[in-house]
Symmetry: C2
Subunit: 205 residues, 2 copies
Protein backbone atom coordinates (compact mmCIF):
# COMPACT_ATOMS: atom_id res chain seq x y z
CA UNK A 1 0.00 0.00 0.00
CA UNK A 2 1.88 3.01 -1.29
CA UNK A 3 -0.31 5.88 -0.17
CA UNK A 4 -2.46 6.82 2.80
CA UNK A 5 -5.70 6.36 0.82
CA UNK A 6 -8.58 5.22 2.97
CA UNK A 7 -12.23 4.41 2.50
CA UNK A 8 -15.02 3.45 4.86
CA UNK A 9 -17.24 0.64 3.59
CA UNK A 10 -20.68 0.91 5.20
CA UNK A 11 -22.74 -2.23 4.84
CA UNK A 12 -25.92 -3.82 6.15
CA UNK A 13 -26.03 -7.60 6.50
CA UNK A 14 -29.62 -7.75 5.20
CA UNK A 15 -28.70 -5.92 2.00
CA UNK A 16 -28.31 -7.80 -1.27
CA UNK A 17 -26.17 -5.16 -2.94
CA UNK A 18 -23.89 -5.05 0.13
CA UNK A 19 -23.25 -8.75 -0.56
CA UNK A 20 -21.97 -7.82 -4.02
CA UNK A 21 -19.54 -5.24 -2.64
CA UNK A 22 -18.37 -7.38 0.28
CA UNK A 23 -17.31 -10.09 -2.14
CA UNK A 24 -15.19 -7.81 -4.33
CA UNK A 25 -14.06 -4.77 -2.35
CA UNK A 26 -10.79 -6.21 -1.05
CA UNK A 27 -9.42 -7.19 -4.44
CA UNK A 28 -10.40 -3.85 -5.97
CA UNK A 29 -9.05 -1.86 -3.02
CA UNK A 30 -5.76 -3.75 -3.05
CA UNK A 31 -5.37 -2.95 -6.73
CA UNK A 32 -6.12 0.71 -6.09
CA UNK A 33 -3.85 0.89 -3.05
CA UNK A 34 -6.71 1.94 -0.80
CA UNK A 35 -7.20 0.77 2.78
CA UNK A 36 -10.74 -0.34 3.62
CA UNK A 37 -12.41 0.07 7.00
CA UNK A 38 -15.39 -2.28 7.31
CA UNK A 39 -18.33 -0.54 9.01
CA UNK A 40 -21.43 -2.68 9.64
CA UNK A 41 -24.52 -0.69 10.54
CA UNK A 42 -28.30 -1.11 10.64
CA UNK A 43 -30.54 0.34 7.96
CA UNK A 44 -33.67 -0.40 10.00
CA UNK A 45 -33.52 2.74 12.18
CA UNK A 46 -32.70 4.88 9.13
CA UNK A 47 -35.57 3.40 7.11
CA UNK A 48 -37.88 3.86 10.13
CA UNK A 49 -37.05 7.57 10.21
CA UNK A 50 -38.30 7.69 6.59
CA UNK A 51 -41.51 5.93 7.55
CA UNK A 52 -40.54 2.48 6.22
CA UNK A 53 -41.04 -0.60 8.35
CA UNK A 54 -39.39 -3.07 5.96
CA UNK A 55 -37.13 -3.11 2.91
CA UNK A 56 -38.18 -0.80 0.06
CA UNK A 57 -37.85 -3.92 -2.11
CA UNK A 58 -40.82 -5.33 -0.24
CA UNK A 59 -42.78 -2.06 -0.06
CA UNK A 60 -42.47 -1.39 -3.80
CA UNK A 61 -43.30 -4.60 -5.64
CA UNK A 62 -41.95 -3.70 -9.08
CA UNK A 63 -38.70 -2.51 -7.54
CA UNK A 64 -38.36 -5.73 -5.56
CA UNK A 65 -39.04 -7.94 -8.58
CA UNK A 66 -36.45 -5.97 -10.52
CA UNK A 67 -33.84 -6.16 -7.75
CA UNK A 68 -33.90 -9.98 -7.67
CA UNK A 69 -33.55 -10.23 -11.45
CA UNK A 70 -30.76 -7.63 -11.39
CA UNK A 71 -29.00 -9.62 -8.66
CA UNK A 72 -29.39 -12.84 -10.68
CA UNK A 73 -27.72 -11.26 -13.70
CA UNK A 74 -24.91 -9.67 -11.67
CA UNK A 75 -24.21 -12.78 -9.58
CA UNK A 76 -24.11 -14.91 -12.71
CA UNK A 77 -21.65 -12.52 -14.37
CA UNK A 78 -19.46 -12.49 -11.24
CA UNK A 79 -19.56 -16.19 -10.48
CA UNK A 80 -21.44 -15.71 -7.21
CA UNK A 81 -24.13 -18.01 -5.89
CA UNK A 82 -27.52 -16.44 -5.18
CA UNK A 83 -30.29 -17.87 -3.08
CA UNK A 84 -33.00 -15.74 -1.49
CA UNK A 85 -33.18 -16.15 2.31
CA UNK A 86 -36.62 -16.59 3.85
CA UNK A 87 -37.79 -14.21 5.14
CA UNK A 88 -36.26 -11.38 3.20
CA UNK A 89 -34.94 -9.13 4.57
CA UNK A 90 -33.28 -11.06 7.38
CA UNK A 91 -33.11 -9.37 10.77
CA UNK A 92 -29.44 -8.41 10.78
CA UNK A 93 -29.06 -7.34 14.41
CA UNK A 94 -27.30 -10.49 15.66
CA UNK A 95 -24.92 -10.60 12.67
CA UNK A 96 -24.00 -6.92 13.02
CA UNK A 97 -23.31 -7.32 16.74
CA UNK A 98 -21.24 -10.44 16.03
CA UNK A 99 -19.23 -8.49 13.45
CA UNK A 100 -18.45 -5.76 15.97
CA UNK A 101 -17.46 -8.46 18.46
CA UNK A 102 -15.09 -9.91 15.86
CA UNK A 103 -13.62 -6.47 15.25
CA UNK A 104 -13.13 -6.02 19.00
CA UNK A 105 -11.45 -9.41 19.47
CA UNK A 106 -9.44 -9.71 16.24
CA UNK A 107 -10.00 -6.90 13.74
CA UNK A 108 -7.89 -8.66 11.10
CA UNK A 109 -10.60 -11.32 10.75
CA UNK A 110 -13.51 -8.91 10.25
CA UNK A 111 -13.54 -8.98 6.41
CA UNK A 112 -13.41 -12.80 6.28
CA UNK A 113 -16.17 -13.11 8.87
CA UNK A 114 -18.40 -10.64 7.01
CA UNK A 115 -17.89 -12.44 3.72
CA UNK A 116 -18.75 -15.73 5.43
CA UNK A 117 -22.01 -14.25 6.77
CA UNK A 118 -22.95 -12.93 3.32
CA UNK A 119 -22.06 -16.20 1.59
CA UNK A 120 -24.24 -18.13 4.06
CA UNK A 121 -27.15 -15.70 3.72
CA UNK A 122 -27.24 -14.98 -0.02
CA UNK A 123 -25.19 -17.86 -1.40
CA UNK A 124 -26.89 -20.60 0.66
CA UNK A 125 -30.10 -18.80 1.71
CA UNK A 126 -29.37 -19.40 5.40
CA UNK A 127 -30.96 -17.54 8.32
CA UNK A 128 -28.32 -15.21 9.78
CA UNK A 129 -30.48 -14.70 12.86
CA UNK A 130 -29.23 -18.08 14.12
CA UNK A 131 -26.55 -17.58 16.82
CA UNK A 132 -25.27 -21.14 16.27
CA UNK A 133 -24.63 -20.38 12.61
CA UNK A 134 -22.83 -17.14 13.48
CA UNK A 135 -20.67 -19.01 16.00
CA UNK A 136 -19.78 -21.70 13.44
CA UNK A 137 -18.88 -19.07 10.85
CA UNK A 138 -16.59 -17.42 13.40
CA UNK A 139 -14.99 -20.79 14.15
CA UNK A 140 -14.43 -21.32 10.43
CA UNK A 141 -12.58 -17.98 10.28
CA UNK A 142 -10.18 -19.13 12.98
CA UNK A 143 -11.97 -17.29 15.76
CA UNK A 144 -13.49 -18.78 18.88
CA UNK A 145 -17.21 -18.83 18.12
CA UNK A 146 -18.22 -19.10 21.77
CA UNK A 147 -16.22 -15.98 22.67
CA UNK A 148 -17.72 -14.08 19.77
CA UNK A 149 -21.25 -15.04 20.83
CA UNK A 150 -20.53 -13.92 24.37
CA UNK A 151 -18.95 -10.63 23.30
CA UNK A 152 -21.84 -9.93 20.91
CA UNK A 153 -24.16 -9.78 23.90
CA UNK A 154 -21.99 -7.30 25.80
CA UNK A 155 -23.68 -3.93 26.39
CA UNK A 156 -20.59 -2.13 25.02
CA UNK A 157 -20.91 -3.96 21.69
CA UNK A 158 -24.63 -3.19 21.54
CA UNK A 159 -23.86 0.47 22.22
CA UNK A 160 -21.07 0.48 19.63
CA UNK A 161 -23.55 -0.71 16.97
CA UNK A 162 -26.01 2.01 17.93
CA UNK A 163 -23.24 4.60 17.71
CA UNK A 164 -22.06 3.28 14.33
CA UNK A 165 -25.61 3.46 12.94
CA UNK A 166 -26.00 7.02 14.25
CA UNK A 167 -22.69 7.95 12.63
CA UNK A 168 -23.90 6.50 9.32
CA UNK A 169 -27.07 8.56 9.46
CA UNK A 170 -25.11 11.70 10.43
CA UNK A 171 -22.92 11.16 7.33
CA UNK A 172 -26.05 11.29 5.16
CA UNK A 173 -26.16 7.54 4.51
CA UNK A 174 -29.61 6.32 3.50
CA UNK A 175 -28.88 2.96 1.87
CA UNK A 176 -26.29 0.22 1.62
CA UNK A 177 -23.66 -0.33 0.58
CA UNK A 178 -22.23 3.16 0.95
CA UNK A 179 -18.65 4.37 0.81
CA UNK A 180 -17.24 7.48 2.49
CA UNK A 181 -13.89 9.17 2.06
CA UNK A 182 -11.90 11.21 4.61
CA UNK A 183 -12.67 14.42 2.68
CA UNK A 184 -16.41 13.91 3.18
CA UNK A 185 -17.60 12.37 -0.08
CA UNK A 186 -20.42 9.82 0.00
CA UNK A 187 -20.95 7.17 -2.69
CA UNK A 188 -24.01 4.93 -2.66
CA UNK A 189 -24.35 1.49 -4.18
CA UNK A 190 -22.17 -1.32 -5.43
CA UNK A 191 -22.19 0.55 -8.78
CA UNK A 192 -20.16 3.36 -7.19
CA UNK A 193 -17.42 1.21 -5.65
CA UNK A 194 -14.87 1.83 -8.42
CA UNK A 195 -15.61 5.56 -8.42
CA UNK A 196 -15.26 5.75 -4.63
CA UNK A 197 -11.89 3.98 -4.70
CA UNK A 198 -10.65 6.25 -7.49
CA UNK A 199 -11.76 9.28 -5.49
CA UNK A 200 -10.04 8.06 -2.31
CA UNK A 201 -6.85 7.42 -4.22
CA UNK A 202 -6.78 10.72 -6.12
CA UNK A 203 -7.44 12.92 -3.11
CA UNK A 204 -4.89 11.35 -0.77
CA UNK A 205 -1.80 11.55 -3.00
CA UNK B 1 -25.33 -1.78 -37.92
CA UNK B 2 -24.43 -5.39 -38.50
CA UNK B 3 -27.10 -7.16 -36.47
CA UNK B 4 -30.74 -6.79 -35.58
CA UNK B 5 -29.97 -5.76 -31.99
CA UNK B 6 -32.57 -3.43 -30.54
CA UNK B 7 -33.17 -1.68 -27.26
CA UNK B 8 -35.97 0.51 -25.95
CA UNK B 9 -34.78 3.56 -23.99
CA UNK B 10 -37.49 4.63 -21.56
CA UNK B 11 -36.97 8.12 -20.19
CA UNK B 12 -38.77 10.81 -18.22
CA UNK B 13 -37.97 14.43 -19.02
CA UNK B 14 -38.02 15.38 -15.32
CA UNK B 15 -35.40 12.76 -14.44
CA UNK B 16 -31.79 13.77 -13.82
CA UNK B 17 -30.36 10.33 -14.51
CA UNK B 18 -32.34 10.16 -17.77
CA UNK B 19 -30.39 13.29 -18.79
CA UNK B 20 -27.16 11.35 -18.31
CA UNK B 21 -28.31 8.50 -20.53
CA UNK B 22 -29.85 10.72 -23.20
CA UNK B 23 -26.51 12.47 -23.66
CA UNK B 24 -24.52 9.28 -24.21
CA UNK B 25 -26.78 6.48 -25.43
CA UNK B 26 -26.38 7.13 -29.15
CA UNK B 27 -22.58 6.97 -29.17
CA UNK B 28 -22.56 3.84 -27.00
CA UNK B 29 -25.31 2.16 -29.02
CA UNK B 30 -23.57 2.95 -32.31
CA UNK B 31 -20.38 1.37 -30.97
CA UNK B 32 -22.31 -1.70 -29.85
CA UNK B 33 -24.27 -1.97 -33.09
CA UNK B 34 -27.58 -1.66 -31.27
CA UNK B 35 -30.59 0.27 -32.55
CA UNK B 36 -32.25 2.53 -29.97
CA UNK B 37 -35.95 3.31 -29.81
CA UNK B 38 -36.57 6.47 -27.75
CA UNK B 39 -39.62 6.03 -25.50
CA UNK B 40 -40.63 9.08 -23.45
CA UNK B 41 -43.10 8.33 -20.67
CA UNK B 42 -44.38 9.86 -17.44
CA UNK B 43 -43.20 8.64 -14.05
CA UNK B 44 -45.89 10.67 -12.27
CA UNK B 45 -48.72 8.13 -12.68
CA UNK B 46 -46.36 5.28 -11.73
CA UNK B 47 -45.12 7.12 -8.64
CA UNK B 48 -48.73 7.98 -7.74
CA UNK B 49 -49.63 4.29 -7.78
CA UNK B 50 -46.88 3.84 -5.15
CA UNK B 51 -48.34 6.64 -3.03
CA UNK B 52 -45.78 9.29 -4.02
CA UNK B 53 -46.93 12.74 -5.09
CA UNK B 54 -43.52 14.09 -6.05
CA UNK B 55 -40.00 12.85 -6.79
CA UNK B 56 -38.52 10.44 -4.22
CA UNK B 57 -35.55 12.83 -4.22
CA UNK B 58 -37.82 15.41 -2.63
CA UNK B 59 -39.63 12.98 -0.33
CA UNK B 60 -36.40 11.52 1.09
CA UNK B 61 -34.10 14.41 1.95
CA UNK B 62 -30.84 12.48 2.36
CA UNK B 63 -31.45 10.71 -0.94
CA UNK B 64 -32.11 14.02 -2.69
CA UNK B 65 -28.99 15.68 -1.29
CA UNK B 66 -26.97 12.68 -2.37
CA UNK B 67 -28.45 12.62 -5.87
CA UNK B 68 -27.42 16.20 -6.62
CA UNK B 69 -23.86 15.60 -5.42
CA UNK B 70 -23.71 12.35 -7.40
CA UNK B 71 -24.93 14.23 -10.49
CA UNK B 72 -22.31 16.96 -9.95
CA UNK B 73 -19.51 14.40 -9.86
CA UNK B 74 -20.82 12.47 -12.88
CA UNK B 75 -21.51 15.56 -14.98
CA UNK B 76 -18.06 16.93 -14.22
CA UNK B 77 -16.45 13.63 -15.22
CA UNK B 78 -18.46 13.56 -18.46
CA UNK B 79 -18.07 17.21 -19.41
CA UNK B 80 -21.78 17.93 -19.00
CA UNK B 81 -23.21 21.17 -17.61
CA UNK B 82 -25.48 20.83 -14.59
CA UNK B 83 -27.90 23.42 -13.27
CA UNK B 84 -30.89 22.52 -11.10
CA UNK B 85 -34.20 23.72 -12.59
CA UNK B 86 -36.63 25.48 -10.27
CA UNK B 87 -38.89 23.85 -9.30
CA UNK B 88 -37.48 20.35 -9.30
CA UNK B 89 -38.91 18.14 -10.59
CA UNK B 90 -40.24 19.99 -13.60
CA UNK B 91 -43.70 19.04 -14.83
CA UNK B 92 -42.72 17.06 -17.92
CA UNK B 93 -46.14 16.65 -19.55
CA UNK B 94 -45.69 19.32 -22.25
CA UNK B 95 -42.18 18.12 -23.13
CA UNK B 96 -43.26 14.48 -23.38
CA UNK B 97 -46.21 15.38 -25.62
CA UNK B 98 -43.92 17.53 -27.77
CA UNK B 99 -41.51 14.61 -28.11
CA UNK B 100 -44.29 12.32 -29.31
CA UNK B 101 -45.36 15.04 -31.76
CA UNK B 102 -41.78 15.17 -33.06
CA UNK B 103 -41.76 11.40 -33.44
CA UNK B 104 -45.07 11.57 -35.35
CA UNK B 105 -43.89 14.33 -37.72
CA UNK B 106 -40.22 13.38 -38.23
CA UNK B 107 -39.03 10.44 -36.14
CA UNK B 108 -35.42 10.92 -37.26
CA UNK B 109 -35.26 14.14 -35.23
CA UNK B 110 -36.56 12.67 -31.97
CA UNK B 111 -33.14 12.00 -30.36
CA UNK B 112 -31.83 15.50 -31.15
CA UNK B 113 -35.02 17.10 -29.84
CA UNK B 114 -34.89 15.10 -26.60
CA UNK B 115 -31.24 15.99 -26.04
CA UNK B 116 -32.07 19.66 -26.63
CA UNK B 117 -34.83 19.50 -24.01
CA UNK B 118 -32.49 17.87 -21.47
CA UNK B 119 -29.67 20.33 -22.19
CA UNK B 120 -32.04 23.26 -21.66
CA UNK B 121 -33.49 21.79 -18.46
CA UNK B 122 -30.42 20.41 -16.68
CA UNK B 123 -27.61 22.22 -18.49
CA UNK B 124 -29.21 25.70 -18.37
CA UNK B 125 -31.79 25.16 -15.59
CA UNK B 126 -34.64 26.25 -17.91
CA UNK B 127 -38.34 25.54 -17.34
CA UNK B 128 -39.42 22.88 -19.83
CA UNK B 129 -43.06 23.64 -19.08
CA UNK B 130 -42.74 26.67 -21.38
CA UNK B 131 -44.36 25.95 -24.78
CA UNK B 132 -42.36 28.78 -26.38
CA UNK B 133 -39.11 27.16 -25.29
CA UNK B 134 -40.23 23.77 -26.62
CA UNK B 135 -41.16 25.39 -29.95
CA UNK B 136 -37.77 27.11 -30.21
CA UNK B 137 -35.93 23.87 -29.42
CA UNK B 138 -37.91 22.16 -32.17
CA UNK B 139 -37.01 24.98 -34.59
CA UNK B 140 -33.33 24.56 -33.65
CA UNK B 141 -33.58 20.88 -34.57
CA UNK B 142 -34.77 21.76 -38.06
CA UNK B 143 -38.42 21.12 -37.25
CA UNK B 144 -41.29 23.58 -37.49
CA UNK B 145 -41.90 24.59 -33.87
CA UNK B 146 -45.40 25.86 -34.54
CA UNK B 147 -46.45 22.52 -36.08
CA UNK B 148 -44.95 20.62 -33.17
CA UNK B 149 -46.83 22.78 -30.67
CA UNK B 150 -50.06 22.23 -32.54
CA UNK B 151 -49.54 18.46 -32.85
CA UNK B 152 -48.62 18.20 -29.16
CA UNK B 153 -52.13 19.33 -28.30
CA UNK B 154 -53.80 16.75 -30.52
CA UNK B 155 -55.91 14.22 -28.61
CA UNK B 156 -54.16 11.37 -30.44
CA UNK B 157 -50.77 12.51 -29.14
CA UNK B 158 -52.17 12.84 -25.63
CA UNK B 159 -53.58 9.35 -25.88
CA UNK B 160 -50.31 8.00 -27.28
CA UNK B 161 -48.46 9.31 -24.22
CA UNK B 162 -50.99 7.69 -21.88
CA UNK B 163 -50.59 4.40 -23.76
CA UNK B 164 -46.79 4.63 -23.66
CA UNK B 165 -46.84 5.25 -19.90
CA UNK B 166 -49.19 2.30 -19.38
CA UNK B 167 -46.89 0.12 -21.47
CA UNK B 168 -43.93 1.17 -19.30
CA UNK B 169 -45.78 0.22 -16.15
CA UNK B 170 -46.88 -3.09 -17.67
CA UNK B 171 -43.22 -3.84 -18.44
CA UNK B 172 -42.42 -3.46 -14.74
CA UNK B 173 -40.77 -0.06 -15.11
CA UNK B 174 -40.71 1.90 -11.85
CA UNK B 175 -38.00 4.51 -12.49
CA UNK B 176 -36.06 6.25 -15.23
CA UNK B 177 -34.04 5.77 -17.24
CA UNK B 178 -34.91 2.16 -17.97
CA UNK B 179 -33.91 -0.07 -20.86
CA UNK B 180 -35.83 -3.05 -22.20
CA UNK B 181 -34.79 -5.71 -24.67
CA UNK B 182 -36.95 -7.70 -27.10
CA UNK B 183 -36.46 -10.85 -24.96
CA UNK B 184 -38.07 -9.16 -21.96
CA UNK B 185 -35.12 -8.02 -19.86
CA UNK B 186 -35.42 -4.79 -17.88
CA UNK B 187 -32.43 -2.67 -16.82
CA UNK B 188 -32.85 0.33 -14.56
CA UNK B 189 -30.61 3.34 -14.29
CA UNK B 190 -27.89 5.07 -16.26
CA UNK B 191 -25.49 2.67 -14.50
CA UNK B 192 -27.01 -0.24 -16.40
CA UNK B 193 -26.79 1.25 -19.91
CA UNK B 194 -23.63 -0.62 -20.89
CA UNK B 195 -24.99 -3.90 -19.51
CA UNK B 196 -28.30 -3.42 -21.34
CA UNK B 197 -26.53 -2.78 -24.66
CA UNK B 198 -24.29 -5.82 -24.17
CA UNK B 199 -27.36 -7.94 -23.41
CA UNK B 200 -29.22 -6.68 -26.49
CA UNK B 201 -26.21 -7.42 -28.67
CA UNK B 202 -25.49 -10.88 -27.30
CA UNK B 203 -29.06 -12.15 -27.52
CA UNK B 204 -29.75 -10.99 -31.09
CA UNK B 205 -26.76 -12.58 -32.82
Amino acid sequence: MSSGSKIDFWFEFASTYSYLSAMRIEALADNAGVEVRWRPFLLGPIFASQGWTTSPFNIYEAKGRYMWRDMERLCQARGLALRQPDPFPQNSLAAARAALAVEHIDASKLPAFCRAVYAAEFGDGAAITDPDLLGRLADDCGLDGASIREAAGDPRIKQALRAQTEEAQALGIFGAPSFTTPDGELFWGDDRLEQALAWARSTSD
